[in-house]
């Protein structure tokens, strides 16, 4: 009876109820998206790099170095000389090293010059190694390995030829079209910026820039000799050490390096400090989303309270028939609960739909991988909180109905 009464009374006021549901849906949608993206960002963020003990680059901000070397966000300020790289990489405590050379792109995707050690030693997520979906690592100078998203978005397959562009804008007018690259391998998806990158050898990078000076191509078609392809500088490099105990020691040595100003960072610690920087923004977002929800809840309480006036007779009839004041309380609470539930599920479904649509874009633009499961988890976590908040706010009309039932006389 209670449920039928609540349901039918909501149906009878369907326009204002629908507006209230809509208002709640929007606010729960905002809250749910903020929470999901927050969680996902943090998750995919911390999974971007693992197993790397130190990242070394020219002296700049710690976060800046991390951003351009790992996330391919922003522009490196300065380079590291090949000589310094060689010297540090051959340090006895270093187990392996991965050089990184940035600056070119292919149709908006960053090109990373590196060595085959990258495929062997780089780790992401929970210390997972890179694997090839198709093909194998590069071998020749003009070989390239592409990330899974690059392959998917541009429809590339092994053995396709690609032309790199100078600079990192998605439309570049200076292309290295004299030296096309051949795709030898496609990496399996990682959910990290690796998916969005094109990997070539350092020698390849060097070869296509052979005739270039100051960012423009010089006339003439001199073909480089193999010996000339030794890079003079790289952007940064990653180090894996034999023993973690040596990390701080080596970090200090690099930071005090005499030949050129260098900087070594611990990726984990820098990720943390970057996340702490972002978390105030993130908490502000969460606060705003919660306030929006609170506003919507108060709107709902107000709608129910106003409806009490037109339902005065109705509540009186129920009392005359022997329904207790507690029944009126429960009726109002149930109506609030139905509105909140309807709104929560609508928000959930619309979020699922929009995530489905925006998934590729988010991964491409921000490297955030959204999984269905995470939205469901967020939703299951959020739903009881929303219902509790709805209960608390609906206490206002519900208690008012209770008191009305208790004190109002039956003279209609």
């Amino acid at each position: 009876m209670l449920f039928k009464l609540a349901w039918k009374s909501l149906l009878a006021r369907r326009v204002s109820v629908l507006l209230t549901v809509l208002m709640m849906t929007v606010s729960i949608f905002v809250l749910l998206s903020v929470e999901t993206i927050r969680y996902q960002a943090k998750d995919s963020f911390s999974k971007t790099v693992s197993g790397v003990d130190l990242i070394v680059g020219a002296r700049t901000g710690q976060v800046n170095l991390l951003l351009y070397s790992v996330f391919h966000i922003g522009v490196p300020t300065n380079n590291v000389s090949w000589q310094s790289y060689q010297e540090i990489a051959t340090n006895p405590s270093v187990a392996w090293s991965i050089p990184i050379s940035l600056g070119d792109s292919h149709r908006g995707y960053r090109v990373v010059g590196t060595s085959t050690d990258f495929f062997e030693f780089f780790r992401f997520g929970n210390k997972q190694a890179l694997t090839f979906q198709h093909g194998k690592a590069f071998d020749e100078h003009f070989d390239a390995v592409i990330g899974s998203e690059v392959a998917k978005q541009l429809g590339y397959q092994v053995d396709d030829a690609i032309v790199l562009a100078h600079g990192i804008a998605s439309t570049s007018f200076s292309k290295h079209d004299d030296h096309p690259f051949k795709i030898t391998g496609i990496l399996a998806p990682t959910g990290t910026p690796v998916d969005q990158s094109v990997y070539v050898s350092l020698q390849g990078i060097e070869a296509i820039h052979f005739n270039w000076q100051g960012g423009v191509r010089m006339p003439g078609t001199a073909t480089p000799e193999l010996a000339d392809l030794q890079p003079k500088t790289i952007t940064a490099f990653m180090l894996g050490l034999n023993s973690r105990i040596q990390t701080f020691n080596l970090q200090r040595q690099i930071n005090e390096y005499r030949q050129e100003p260098l900087q070594a960072i611990l990726p984990g610690a820098t990720l943390m400090s970057l996340w702490t920087m972002l978390s105030s923004v993130e908490q502000l977002l969460l606060l705003i989303a919660s306030l929006v929800l609170l506003g919507a809840l108060i709107g709902m309480a107000n709608m129910l309270l106003v409806s009490m006036r037109e339902r005065r007779h109705e509540l009186s009839v129920l009392r005359a028939l022997g329904y207790r004041p507690g029944f009126l309380f429960a009726l109002l609470q149930l109506e609030a609960m139905l509105i909140s539930l309807a709104a929560a599920f609508t928000a959930f479904i619309s979020l699922q739909l929009s995530m489905y649509v925006l998934k590729d874009w988010l991964l491409q633009e921000y490297g955030i991988l959204l999984t269905r499961l995470s939205i469901i988890n967020e939703f299951l976590f959020m739903l009881p909180l929303v219902l509790i908040a709805s209960f608390l706010v609906a206490l206002i009309p519900a208690i008012s109905a209770y008191r009305q039932g208790l004190h109002q006389q039956l003279n209609l």
Partner: protein, 231 residues
């Protein structure tokens, strides 16, 4: 059992504000036998509604006792008093008796919900009552808001009688009806009350209806001297 009065009020005093020293209603002794039909009249604002609310157990007297059958209403707990009203008292108001967005059948179920009888019995009984009150069975599935005022008032009687209450409290049920409809409505009502063997308290300011009843009461006789309102 049959010789116990349906209503027995002793030394009853009621005032709206417990701390005010003037009582609104003062009833030294009032008794209604079972099966009596009582017509209560008086000007508006004279305490008719107050008496009905006292009999329904919505309001409680500050002093004295109100007994329905053998139950002293003002000694029951709130919960028991609400349960007692559901099972033993039927009420019909001036208007707005039905919940407009529920069907007629659901409106009746609101009351029969408290019955101890099983569903088929209740269904049968509501069909009979609908028939007795000259209501088309097809109306059962209509939303109450689609019925005419006269139909709504008759459905209210069906609902008030569905649990076979010993006492029927009716508050100006005919004020929204024209005079022809008024007399036939009261006729129908009293016929059903007689069949059910119930006691009825019928309140109205329209004294032309008094002839249908076995007994009359001027509410002003319950009022404290000096508190009488002008009409």
């Amino acid at each position: 059992m049959t010789n116990r009065p349906a209503i027995q009020i002793e030394n009853c005093q009621f005032r709206y504000h417990p701390d005010s020293d003037k009582a609104l209603l003062q009833i030294a002794h009032w008794q209604v036998e079972k099966g009596e039909t009582v017509f209560v009249y008086g000007p508006s604002g004279s305490g008719k509604s107050t008496l009905l609310n006292l009999l329904a157990g919505i309001l409680l007297p500050q002093q004295g006792s109100i007994k329905l059958d053998e139950v002293t209403l003002n000694q029951l707990s709130n919960r028991k008093r609400d349960a007692f009203r559901a099972r033993h008292i039927g009420m019909v108001f001036q208007r707005f008796n039905l919940i407009p967005y529920l069907t007629v059948a659901d409106n009746i179920k609101l009351a029969s919900h408290f019955s101890s009888h099983d569903k088929p019995y209740l269904q049968q009984r509501s069909l009979e009552l609908m028939n007795d009150l000259q209501l088309d069975i097809e109306l059962l599935e209509r939303p109450a808001s689609q019925l005419s005022v006269g139909q709504q008032q008759r459905v209210a009687i069906v609902r008030a009688l569905i649990n076979q209450p010993e006492l029927l409290i009716v508050d100006e049920p005919t004020s929204a009806l024209d005079s022809d409809a008024r007399d036939s409505f009261v006729d129908l009502l009293l016929k059903q009350v007689k069949v059910a063997g119930a006691t009825i308290i019928f309140v109205s300011h329209d004294r032309s209806l008094a002839q249908h009843f076995s007994r009359q009461l001027d509410i002003q006789s319950f009022m404290v001297a000096g508190e009488k309102h002008a009409v």
